[in-house]
Amino acid sequence: MTIADQVTGSTIAGTAGAKPAGTKPRAAAPAITLPAIGERELRLDLFRGLALWLIFIDHLPTSLLTWFTIRNYGFSDATEIFIFISGYTAAFVYGRAMLESGVVIATARILRRVWQIYVAHVFLFTIFLAEISYVATRFENPLYTEEMGIMDFLKQPDITIVQALLLRFRPVNMDVLPLYIVLMLALPLILWSMKWRPDVTLGLSVVLYAVTWEYDLYFSAYPNGFWAFNPLAWQLLFVFGAWCALGGARRMSRILASPVTMWIAIAYLAAAFYVTLTWYVPQLSQFMPKRIEQWMYPIDKTDLDVLRFTHFLALAALTVRFLSRDWPGLKSRWLRPLILCGQHSLEIFCLGVFLAFAGHFILAEVSGGAAMHALISLSGVLIMWGVAWVISWYKRVADKSGAKTKNAVGNADLAGGG
């Protein structure tokens, strides 16, 4: 058994009476507390699994299924869920490691995880190269001569591939892993600082976010432009997730339980839903005051717009309130596929990106049409589930045979993400 299988996690926000017991820290009275070992927090897995499915569906061309993804009902989307939960679980696993084995060991383990994610990214890039090269040689529809200009980078592979290895050249849909790599690289620093003063760390994170907005800081990309997810802004969600995991959630529990919070969250979500509606039903936009529109738009995904962040907070607050951690449904067979996928997030994320590429490819080369589209979406989700199941099964078997020799260290999968 690895620790991952025993890990609990406080609740996302700890309302449902997370046991406020700290682990036995070696250092005297650390500033952070970790929840007691007990049952695994299934809600985290559930929502991360959900985020993975939604990201997969959002990466496919638009179809009917796309209407089930949350980005159509408000400002934030699956990426927010994903980064938040990743911050939460990463802090949880490696925070424990830092308390138990010290900063150096924890840092080494985090770096190992970063390496895994990096390799996964390079692997996906190779697949992307294969796809784009194929399309470049086969597709000559005169309607799209201009769009084929995107293939120009194939003419200088020497530059492109090196830039890709430096994470500066990132094709569409390959933005999340580089963001995650940078956030994980910062994790030792974040955890070390959290160990000292969690609230100050969160405060610094907010300051960095504000400075990023004020001075328009960004990571540059190749051939030009910038990272589609600015790590300097998105770190806020990641650090906030870490802060929640290391005791912040518990301290917020009273705020989260108050009906005022609930109504504010509901009102905000309703307003966001209405705004989103105006994007799809343009007739509605005449009921939108022009001044609000001008203040609100554009809702910036790159720099994690405040509207998106608060939308995520509202969603999370309601989720924590209405979905208790001992809800029996979490153990039901029906949610099992989602939870399984959430438990192996790095693998399933990469698989999802690959399946989205493959799905595009089939739609383009074999046949388009709604039937094919639906089939691809459904089989993609089924494949993700199947693979997650196989990984779980393998881990169980491997753990059983390796239990005597292996030291039970935290499982990177829990901290995974991707």
């Binding site: 990466h59 061309p61 784009i132 000559e140 529809n141 084929m148 595009h360």
Partner: protein, 259 residues
């Protein structure tokens, strides 16, 4: 609980089955142009107006339209089937016979919005169109220009065109499903919508329109065909839609429209 989940799964499957049936119905209509061009009316209307176009037509003055575009404005080797030419033909058909309509095209091949906008002052000195249809965004998306820079470039361009005394229509990117995994269109679509809103000018949503055609099965935009037929049909429909859009945004009299 289980029953609820089951129910939602059933609904999901039902929902998935529906578009299959729809796609089947639409397929036979794909060949003759007019049926294939069909669009829901919200894609062809705008809240913003084209006062100068309206004035020119009412006063019986010639309607001079300039299309500033890029390579996707044309079809290689068949200029007369491209959407500006089709729009001209359609406008002539729909407006009173006495109305003189002239459409010229300015191709800014491989230029970003910023590069194109920098030519506008000179361009507008040389020509004095009543209406400029500025189609942009593709090159910026391919080069993944900073969306904020893109937005200010489009803003500058629009202001320059308006200062020179023309009505402006913005036209966004093509819907290109084959390159969807490679070109990120969304930030550019969003920013063009913002600029259009801020300056109260009509936005011809080429992206949504072409996607509608593809989703409804009127055109298969995934098709790898090398011949120009598909491009010609799509441009014909775009030209029709654009003519309709301009007439609607200029609030030209229904009597004139019916001709």
């Amino acid at each position: 609980m289980k029953a609820k989940v089951l129910l939602s799964l059933i609904l999901l499957c039902g929902g998935l089955a529906a578009p299959v049936a729809r796609a089947g119905d639409a397929a036979p209509a794909a060949s003759p142009p007019p049926a294939a061009c069909e669009l829901p009316s919200y894609l062809l209307t705008s809240e913003s107006r084209l006062p100068k176009v309206a004035h020119a037509v009412k006063a019986g003055k010639p309607l001079d339209i300039l299309v500033v575009g890029s390579r996707s404005t044309t079809i290689p080797s068949s200029e007369s089937s491209s959407y500006p030419a089709r729009m001209e033909a359609n406008l002539k058909e729909k407006l009173p016979a006495s109305e003189v309509v002239h459409v010229s095209v300015e191709i800014q091949s491989k230029k970003t919005a910023e590069e194109a906008a920098s030519t506008f002052v000179k361009l507008m000195e040389a020509k004095t169109p009543t209406l400029v249809i500025w189609q942009t965004g593709t090159v910026d998306a391919i080069r993944s220009i900073d969306p904020d820079e893109f937005r200010s470039a489009v803003t500058d361009g629009v202001v320059a065109l308006q200062k020179a005394g023309a009505d402006v229509v913005l036209m966004n990117l093509q819907y290109s499903p084959r390159t969807e995994t490679m070109i990120s269109a969304q930030p550019f679509l969003d920013n063009m919508r913002v600029v259009a809103q801020e300056h109260d000018i009509p936005l011809f949503d080429r992206f949504a329109i072409m996607r509608q055609w593809n989703d409804q099965g009127q055109f298969d935009l995934f098709s790898p065909s090398r011949g120009p037929e598909l491009a010609k049909q799509v441009h014909d429909c775009l030209g029709r839609a654009l003519a309709q859009f301009v007439i609607d945004a200029a609030h030209l009299e229904p009597a004139q429209q019916q001709n």
